[in-house]
Structures are given as structure tokens and as C-alpha cells.
């Protein structure tokens, strides 16, 4: 019984770690403008690392839906699903600056 429970916990930990790896890989496409893991030099763009999760998710949706004007993000955000936006927002929120 305990062994089954332990196996289930280990499996879910492994799945969680894999989901985090996938989010980090998905976020790596943002790095060409926003820096590795969202840590930019902050001169032109605010760092995404450690930005609140709800804020990032809401801004991405606002860019995507045309609610927030942008030079480029309105075009890029249209390439992302809600699920991807939530994964990116969670990843960046968990990063240290």
C-alpha cells in the first residue's frame, strides 16, 4: 500500500518536473528579446523573470486580443494558446531576477 502511494508520488513529481522542463523550453523562444529564462538587462524591456503570474498571463491575452497596443507582441501573442500562455506565466513568475 505504502509502496503504491510512494510510486504514485514519485510519478507525479517526475511528471511535474517534466512539465517544468517543457515550460522552460517553451519560454526559451522568448529569450531572443527577453533574455535567458526571462532575465534581460532591463534597458529596453522589463525583465519577465519574477513578474507576477497573473499579470503576465493577462498581458499576453491583452496583446493577443488587441486590448493592449504593441509594436510586436500583438503579432507574437496570436501564436500562443491559453494553455501555453498559462505555462509561460507560471514559469516566468517562478524565476529569480
Amino acid at each position: 500500500m505504502h509502496r503504491v502511494l510512494l510510486a504514485a508520488i514519485l510519478a507525479s513529481v517526475a511528471l511535474g518536473a517534466q512539465a517544468q522542463d517543457r515550460a522552460r523550453q517553451l519560454a526559451s523562444a522568448c529569450a531572443i528579446c527577453h533574455g535567458t529564462d526571462g532575465r534581460s538587462d532591463g534597458k529596453a524591456l522589463p525583465p519577465l523573470a519574477a513578474m507576477p503570474r497573473d499579470y503576465v498571463a493577462a498581458q499576453m491575452r491583452a496583446f493577443r486580443d488587441g486590448q493592449r497596443p504593441a509594436t510586436v507582441m500583438h503579432q507574437i501573442a496570436k501564436g500562443y494558446t491559453d494553455e501555453q500562455i498559462d505555462a509561460l506565466a507560471a514559469f516566468f513568475a517562478a524565476q529569480k531576477r
Partner: protein
């Protein structure tokens, strides 16, 4: 291979490795080429799994960026600005070996170096950039050897030489830029270059002319934005001709031969057609038109040689995918993620990637093109996500600031 040579290389590498981790290595990945593709892949494998050894083989001491190099031609940037050394990725535990890969033995899983050593690998990444098919242009090799005709389509000594030619050209002279048929490295690059040289002439040699002889029927990227900038900023300076494919060049008469006429100039910047870099050809990685390397876009693994992943400009581009630094950097992340998965016994998952390319049209104003590329299981390739991507609304100094941000940031993401 002599055992002695292998030990020599292996010994040098363990000394250079700086012992970042005490854990035994899971596997070794060798990366050939330290440009936007190779450097990014080497760094990100280490970042995503530090138990994998990564060896980067690069023949040059420094990375010199093609993006921003057109600004060097105009005097708006310097070679120092666009150069980076490899100490940044060495800090991630990447073992940087300054050498040239001359052969790949895919059966033995080893790479032979110009210095004579050999390095074994579990997975190999080849990011060779482009080389030119000089034979497509009659007289090109002689013209190039004379030093009078340059391509400057790999940033480095030719960038410096072209800047010198532009500076030495008397006012009233003609600079000719000959553009090869697509696909070539950096679709908007020629038009940015024409803009930068025109900006320099307008300021320093206003009687001079830029003549673009394009093998393509029209400007191949951001056409509306470039043409608007040219008519607003460089009337009487910049002339564009489409369907003007060069078939030869003559440095004695300083002329570019087209199919129907010869066109004389004072500075001849003739960019020959390209193919995947030499090592890709030697290793049998080229699959298509004797030029490009087809890959599985879920992993970047070569469709010709198992265990070898090909990145960047050398690939047979997927639909609507430019040969760009942004794309090479993103290809590298697909390969890094897939290789980390494979070496950990996991199934690789497709990765969505983004392209963003800025081009300057004057000293401070830039324009941009972006696209998002997602795996399509039905078609078995990466496709632009419908409705996403596009170009700048107009040229602006704000886009110029973002262009510089992009450059600084991608250099750091690739090499820092």
C-alpha cells in the same frame, strides 16, 4: 585514429573543463560551429542537463555577428560591438576547442579535427552556417582573390574590407550590391545593407549611388517597408532592379555580368548563391538541390545521417521560415531539448519557436518581421501559426531601440 591523438585531445579537454561538476558524465555531445545555432545549443544543453558533457568545436577565436554588421559598413557600429569571445559559454561548462572539424564518422560516432585528433560523441550537432557556390558566377574566384570583389556575407575580415572600399570610393562612384536567388542567409539583409550604404553616401558622398541588382523578381522581405524608406530617404541615391541575376563578375573592367548586359561599378559587392557549410557537404548531410540539409523539425536530426542534428542556415528551411540568427538560435533549442530528452530516455516533444528579425533603414530607424512556428503532426513539419506574425506598422526609432535590444539580448542568450 592513433590512440595517442585521442588521449591528447581528451586530456586537453579535461584540463579545459574547469571541473564544474563532480557527477559522472551521462554522455558527450559534440557541437561543430559556434555561431547562433551551435553556441546556443551548447549552452542550453548544459543549462538543461548539467550531467551531459558538451564540447564545442570552433575554428575562430571570436564570434562575429552578421546581424548589425551592415551598420559597421555605414560607420554606425564597430567590429568590437559585434564580436564576442567564447568565455561566456565556457562558464556554463562547455568545453570550447579551437579547431576545425574536417570529417565525421557517423558509424564510429567520432569527429576528426584539422589538428589530427578525434573526438567521440553520443549525439553530434552540426551548425556549419553557409558556404558559397562560387562556380555559379563566372570569374568570381579570380575576382575574389584580387581582393577587389567582396561578398561580406559572413561578418569578419570582409566586413572590414568592404567598409574600407566604401570609404576609399570617390564621391560620385557607384556601389553595386548583387543579391542571389532565394533562399539565402538573411532575407532582408541585402536591403538593409543597401539602406545602410545609402545612408552613409547621403551623409558623406551625396553624389554617389547604390545600385541593387537582385536576382529575385522583387525585394524578398519587408518589401513595402523597405521601398517606402528608400523613396522617402534615399531618392536619387538608391536604385533597385529586380530580375537582375548576376552570372559573372570581372574585376579588370569592374563589372557585374547579367544575362543581357554588363553593369560597371566602383565597389562590387557580389553575394554568390549559398549552400550548407562545407562540413555538411563532406559528411553527407546535404539532401536537397545539392545545397540544404533536411531535418526532422521535432529534433533537428538529419534525415540523411542518424545521430547528427543540423541547425541554422544550413537546413532545408520549413515553409515561411527565414535563414536567420533568430531561427538558428531557436533551432538550437529544439535540438537541445530533444537531445536532453533522448539522453534521459524520454520521448522528445515538439517545440514551438519564434522568429524576430530587425533591419535598420537609417542610422536610428528600423523595421521588423516576426513569425511563430508550431509543429503540425499531419504535415510532419513546422508551420507558421495562422493569424500570428507580421511586420512593423512603419519604420521608427522605437523599432531601432528594440533592434539594438534584440541584438544585445540574443548575443547574450547565445553566447553569454
Amino acid at each position: 585514429m592513433k590512440r595517442r591523438d585521442f588521449l591528447k585531445v581528451a586530456g586537453a579537454m579535461s584540463l579545459a573543463g574547469c571541473a564544474t561538476t563532480a557527477a559522472p558524465s551521462k554522455a558527450r555531445v559534440v557541437v561543430i560551429g559556434g555561431g547562433f545555432g551551435g553556441a546556443t545549443a551548447a549552452k542550453h544543453i548544459r543549462l538543461w542537463d548539467a550531467s551531459i558533457d558538451v564540447v564545442l568545436i570552433e575554428r575562430d577565436a571570436q564570434f562575429v555577428s552578421c546581424p548589425i554588421s551592415n551598420l559597421v559598413l555605414a560607420g554606425y557600429s564597430s567590429m568590437q560591438d559585434i564580436s564576442r569571445d567564447y568565455s561566456g559559454i565556457a562558464r556554463h561548462g562547455v568545453q570550447v576547442v579551437r579547431d576545425e572539424a574536417v570529417a565525421i564518422d557517423a558509424a564510429k560516432k567520432s569527429v576528426r579535427l584539422a589538428s589530427g585528433g578525434e573526438i567521440g560523441y553520443e549525439r553530434l550537432i552540426v551548425s556549419p552556417g553557409i558556404d558559397f557556390t562560387f562556380g555559379d558566377l563566372q570569374g568570381y574566384e579570380a575576382a575574389m582573390k584580387s581582393g577587389r570583389v567582396l561578398h561580406a556575407w559572413k561578418a569578419g575580415p570582409q566586413t572590414v574590407a568592404l567598409r574600407r572600399q566604401l570609404e576609399a570610393m570617390p564621391d560620385g562612384g557607384v556601389y553595386i550590391l548583387s543579391v542571389p536567388l532565394a533562399p539565402y542567409r538573411c532575407p532582408p539583409g541585402p536591403y538593409e545593407r543597401a539602406s545602410m550604404v545609402a545612408a552613409y553616401f547621403k551623409q558623406a558622398k551625396p553624389k554617389s549611388k547604390v545600385l541593387v541588382l537582385d536576382a529575385n523578381p522583387d525585394v524578398t522581405s519587408k518589401a513595402g517597408l523597405f521601398k517606402r524608406a528608400w523613396s522617402d530617404l534615399y531618392p536619387g541615391i538608391l536604385e533597385y532592379r529586380g530580375n537582375a541575376r548576376a552570372i559573372g563578375v570581372d574585376e579588370k573592367t569592374m563589372s557585374v555580368k547579367l544575362e543581357v548586359e554588363d553593369v560597371k561599378g566602383d565597389v562590387l559587392n557580389v553575394v554568390p548563391p549559398h549552400r550548407a557549410g562545407d562540413i555538411a557537404q563532406k559528411a553527407g548531410l546535404i539532401t536537397t538541390n545539392n545545397r540544404w540539409c533536411d531535418v526532422d523539425w521535432r529534433t533537428m536530426e538529419s534525415k540523411a545521417v542518424k545521430g547528427v542534428h543540423v541547425l541554422g542556415d544550413a537546413t532545408l528551411s520549413a515553409a515561411a521560415m527565414p535563414k536567420s540568427g533568430s531561427m538558428a538560435n531557436n533551432h538550437a533549442k529544439i535540438a537541445a531539448a530533444a537531445i536532453v530528452d533522448l539522453l534521459n530516455g524520454r520521448e522528445p516533444a515538439p517545440l514551438q519557436i519564434v522568429n524576430t528579425c530587425y533591419s535598420f533603414v537609417s542610422q536610428k530607424e528600423a523595421i521588423r518581421v516576426s513569425s511563430v512556428h508550431r509543429w503540425d503532426a499531419g504535415k510532419g513539419t513546422l508551420l507558421a501559426v495562422p493569424g500570428s506574425g507580421g511586420v512593423s506598422a512603419a519604420r521608427s526609432e522605437a523599432e531601432g531601440n528594440y533592434a539594438w535590444n534584440w541584438a544585445r539580448t540574443i548575443w547574450a542568450d547565445s553566447l553569454g
